[in-house]
Symmetry: C2
Subunit: 386 residues, 2 copies
């Protein structure tokens, strides 16, 4: 079982961007704004946008399930106002929900939020609830810089973000901290802004005390944590200088993904960050789509690096590929080996002593996709992966 | 011979910050602005600020010479206007010049520039010339974001920066690309802004064609290149996607320093970046001053990591510790083994064929410290370091 926790719908049918162009053109001109129902994308369109692309690569690479959210660079929260973002988030979320239902067991939905610069993040909570409760999202993408490279929002530890965190904790979904397109010419979107945001977010968390207020909150920092694991000694030293706990303590609540596109980078990541805080991911088909001429394989075929890295034991690799994701994304509905959704019911006798007893069986949560809570996954199935 | 290419005057006598406070308080009130000559710091004050701090640590760690510039976080180009920056740069540069003359052979001067947000970088050229020609600076610090975390300046490839580059090439000095204090609450200065700037600058260079216009321009990206070496595969893939040459080609003009404060980070750096593009540095006494409880040594004692890394051969290590710096900073006046400035005159017969012939002997350059050009250093002395 291999779960890729970081995929975006980068191959959406062109009707989507055409609809967005009309929406942007109609900013300030609501009479000409397109309606969500004007977007005509058939199920066959969706299949054609997925099967020869993400699904083909998943099969080639042996990835079972991808957590799949709207295209990050298209979120573009800096465009228009909160109402523009509200409609756009709804359209994009509905589309990835359809993908997740067309390919059950292959794609689990992640949602975007209708953020807007200078607008109270609490305004995102209704769409967050809709995405999780009605569409089956298992996570959301949270943009720490809805201004698109101007960085006008307060740090993630600011109380203005708390209504989002409260809803996340209540709904038991994590967030991936992920910016969108940079409209600042200083920052290339995928070459600078994405990595900078990862580093920035981690440092904000190091400076603050967010997880004292939200001990159950879980955040995923993508792209291998930006610069953080490479500079782990710096962050440890800064924590000491600031009178903060060692950054390792943040890893009870923060995970890094493995979107690092060469072997030495993955080797560094796995040597520095404990496996419990690593989630397998590729972000394919994303920023880097070419074949590395030195290896003959795609840069973003991160499974090769994770398989080859000496920093992971077989048990570590199982954690990185699957069981960590089951813990971080408890709403994940996991397929069995035939690729079909699995309903797990275990004999209660497997759990003894202080182990939790009430974790078995489907839990509806008003979710159209039945939810299975797997907090003791190592008891629930044979070792995965390898 | 070990050259540390990245030191700042972080231990300047308190009179300096008091003078700066008066200068900042008098913004908009020029009558009460302090004059540069109001700053009273004696030579003994300077010795006391250096000997028990940087010089003690240099001796303990076996570093021979530090390239020493004004404190990066104090540059604060976002404060006041170009005139405020002009006077402040002059004061700070004069002070590091005095340090370099009080400790000959131990500290070589780096200069700050009087940048100011929204102001033409060409206005920095007179202070750049003064620092190099009159004060003996061997390099300058170039701030890609004088706004202090708002990132309002155009990329480093923009033609507005060209007058600075033209002067640098004419004077044969490199620049370290180094931001200053972040006044943006999203960015911790040393935990996010510095690293983000390194990543951002490299990506700007990857997108542009700066070194086609300035083949002799040399830039140093500090803090181990920010996130770049850790994500080297990403940058290679992005270069392909953008139709740009492999990022390795940038390393003819760009060097990374070794300010990465743990062994795995240095191991990654030396395994990914060829030694010709690495410059030893510690940035001590800087952002991270504590002792790593896991090792019992200072986090910023980078010599330990560079000595221990398997990624460098003895010849590579010599390059990283010294000979690369001689190439990147040709105005460096190198001490002999007794710590005194060295005047090197070689028999011309050592050079034959297509080797340069006019490189021997002091070259004044209107520099009060005599300059020795050592472009064939491997001929000039026995192997260094180790």
């Amino acid at each position: 079982m291999i779960i890729d926790c970081h995929g975006h719908f980068t191959t959406a049918p062109p009707q989507l961007s055409a609809w967005r162009d009309r929406q942007v053109a109609a900013i300030g001109d609501p009479v000409n704004a397109p309606r969500p129902e004007d977007l005509a994308i058939s199920d066959d369109d969706l299949r054609e946008s997925i099967e020869p692309h993400q699904l083909r690569l998943m099969k080639e690479r042996g990835t079972d399930l991808t957590i799949f959210s709207p295209r990050a660079s298209f979120m573009a929260h800096h465009i228009g106002d909160a109402d523009v973002s509200r409609v756009w988030a709804r359209v994009c979320n509905d589309l990835v929900h359809r993908v997740s239902t067309l390919f059950p067991g292959r794609f689990a939905m992640g949602a975007m939020l209708p953020q807007s610069p200078g607008v109270d993040p609490a305004t995102c909570v209704p769409e967050l609830r809709r995405a999780v409760e009605q569409l089956g999202a298992v996570t959301v993408n949270l943009n720490p810089d809805p201004s698109g490279g101007r960085w006008t929002a307060p740090p993630l530890t600011d109380r203005s973000w708390y209504p989002v965190y409260e809803a996340m904790v209540e709904l038991d979904v994590p967030a991936m901290v992920h910016v969108s397109t940079s409209c600042n010419p200083a920052f290339h979107t995928t070459g600078a802004h994405y990595l900078n945001a990862d580093t920035t977010a981690f440092m904000q968390l190091l400076q603050g005390d967010l997880f004292a207020d939200f001990p159950d909150l879980r955040l995923v920092i993508p792209h291998g944590g930006g610069a953080v694991p490479y500079h782990w000694g710096r962050f440890r030293g800064l924590a000491m200088a600031l009178g903060r706990p060692d950054p390792m303590t943040l890893l009870d609540n923060v995970s890094f993904d493995t979107c690092v596109y060469h072997q030495p980078g993955i080797d560094l990541l796995t040597s520095v960050v404990p496996s419990r805080a690593l989630l397998f991911a590729s972000e394919m088909i994303g920023a880097v789509r070419d074949v590395d001429p030195d290896t003959g394989h795609h840069f973003d075929d991160t499974r090769r690096y994770v398989d080859a890295t000496p920093g992971l034991s077989p048990a570590d690799r199982t954690a990185v590929y699957a069981t960590n994701a089951e813990r971080v994304y408890p709403r994940l509905q996991l397929p069995d080996s035939c690729g079909q959704p699995q309903q797990v019911t275990l004999p209660e006798t497997r759990f003894t002593g202080d182990q939790q007893s009430a974790l078995i069986g489907p839990d509806d949560h008003r979710n159209p996709l039945k939810r299975v809570v797997l907090t003791h996954t190592l008891h629930l199935r044979p070792p995965l992966g390898e």
